[in-house]
Subunit: 418 residues, 2 copies
Amino acid sequence: MRGEIITIGNELISGRVVDLNAWYAAGKLTASGLVVSRVTTVGDDFEPVSKALREALEHSDFVIITGGLGSTDDDMTNEIVATTLKRPLCLDEEMFELIKKYVKDTGMEMSPSYEKMAWMPKDARLISPKGNVCGFSLVENRVRLYFLPGVPEQMRYLMDQYVIPDILLRSETRPVLTHRVLKVYGMGEPGIAQALKDLPKKAKNVIMGFYPNFPENHITLSSRGEDEPQVTGEVVALEKEVRALLGPHIFATGNETMESVVGRMLTGRGLTVSVAESCTGGLVGNLLTNVPGSSTYFHGGVTAYSNQAKIDLLGVSAETIEKHGAVSDQAVREMAEGIREKFKADIGIATTGIAGPDGGTEEKPVGTVHIGMAAAKETVSGKYRFLGNREQNKLNTAMMALDWIRRYLNGDPFLSRF
Amino acid sequence: MRGEIITIGNELISGRVVDLNAWYAAGKLTASGLVVSRVTTVGDDFEPVSKALREALEHSDFVIITGGLGSTDDDMTNEIVATTLKRPLCLDEEMFELIKKYVKDTGMEMSPSYEKMAWMPKDARLISPKGNVCGFSLVENRVRLYFLPGVPEQMRYLMDQYVIPDILLRSETRPVLTHRVLKVYGMGEPGIAQALKDLPKKAKNVIMGFYPNFPENHITLSSRGEDEPQVTGEVVALEKEVRALLGPHIFATGNETMESVVGRMLTGRGLTVSVAESCTGGLVGNLLTNVPGSSTYFHGGVTAYSNQAKIDLLGVSAETIEKHGAVSDQAVREMAEGIREKFKADIGIATTGIAGPDGGTEEKPVGTVHIGMAAAKETVSGKYRFLGNREQNKLNTAMMALDWIRRYLNGDPFLSRF
């Protein structure tokens, strides 16, 4: 089954808003073994929408259309569809009831602009798995058209709850799709390309993709076929080869994140971590606490942005700062040890550095960063130089701090380098 | 001048990667007063690319095409263009020299896949404002075609350095474009729609757009015309009306962020702030320190995720936590006062709450959040209920904490509500 996606909105073709609806729909359809052959984005205007619709009908088994279903004047998808497909607008009683209820519940007054939403092209079928999130579907020349709202949460809900199951229900063959995402950190694009340069030849039916996703790099392995064991076997074999070449730089697979991997490892061992942050300003703690249940292994941290705070709250000695500066191995070690002690944590992790754009010197240019980690047996520290802007340098520093925890818990010998 | 954008890449139509190239190009073109009528995204395949190209040639003055210019086997834009436009591939000597230099500089070996990149459709003109970032342009039936790499940094560089200036140079009329973005926080979409419901009629030539950008809502005012004073005057007049209706909920304009506005205000008054974070886990500090120069007003903070940390590091009384819980007005006030004292800051701001998905109770459901602010004269606190997922609740809490600082410094009487 091949399909197209049409996203409608002036905010999209003017670049005001990133088209996350197209991305979401494409990802979900692909993950379900369906093929997306084209995405078209047009503004809220009759001719471009009508033309995109007519073209999509020529080549597709299904078309997902998002946007223009709302109550304001620039929402005119229903009218355009009615005119283009020569299907007069009819009042959908079920939709009208839903709207009336919504208007009443929220204490507003009924108006023609609300009623408008209930007028749909003839023979449209309301999509409304729950209350006030609605779209509609149509069949035209055997092509299934799904019209969804442009509000991302609503569109996603209807895609997952209705559209994907409905398309799969009507799909005769269900090609096996095996898709693996390997997430790499701490290795640049050229390094990865060099390491994997002999692999594509061996890939057989497996398509290997490479996607930078700052500060990570993602490698995808996808295979499609009728014979599930064979398809999966080929992907597994290639993954093994990639892992042999990139080793510990692969930190996660699929939907896992650096912080969820670290969280899982800490939980598994019953360990706790505390953070002392300077240049990251709280980002390490923020990432750690994005994981549900992180309170079991993260009890807190201190953001010591000024030198005085490093001295007062973390017990860094004034002499260390005077002699080596706050951006130094010595300071970051004392920060890590100080926070570990303060929270009686198993691991203390610390960051200090110059995020930029100002504050760099010849000796310590912008992007100079030190990471420190204190554990029961030892304290280690190391220096990095990142080349991004302020937010990129902060993110790289926080990711590296988390990666140190991951590698330490994995018994990775990399720490002996420092 | 009207144009289209074609983005090419299997990673885009499979939803692996968000199409930020289309977004960037559309935004830059629109901001330059040009009109984008359509964005088409297709995979690295002959027929879809060829068809998109042929269709774009029918309706446009210019077309931006990104992707498929690299060295790997799936990069085949040059070949597709050559076949579609019946222009044989020719070796571009200038490009070939650049590639040879790059290969030499990076210590690799020359190969047919590198040489391939230098074979361009006949009469293509190399775009290469600096060294190894290259694209090419073509004129076909008076339509200007710009082919750019899919790597975002390279594509952006060539758009800014070459494509936009080149299109403007050939544009006969240069319509004035006035574009204002007003950023709103603390008011939901229905509330804003209700408040502004009479405005569109008054808008004359000004187009008002409305874009949810969680947790913010953005209102855009755009006007186009030949007479600059008139165009600008109309936008200014409408902005005044919007401001009268939404008042202090408008926190920033244009590229400003909540944290940059707060930073500017703190700097202007010579004040400092410290943060005590529980449910936000460090996010408030992370946002504050995204602003260059934030070290002048932010010296640090404490993330007290556990109750014990709130007691030990922030001086919250054990009795308060026992009696009212850590998620309470009483606790958040003591947190704010504690952090203000610890850092001798002018303002202490604190967050506590239940981010979810677990930990909610009937009395304190997921999304219950308290904000506290301690200043010289008084301490205030307030309770909110957010309805998002974990990360959304964290972000809303951090934004609200920053908004409290902004409103407090503005002398906004909203705090008297609490």
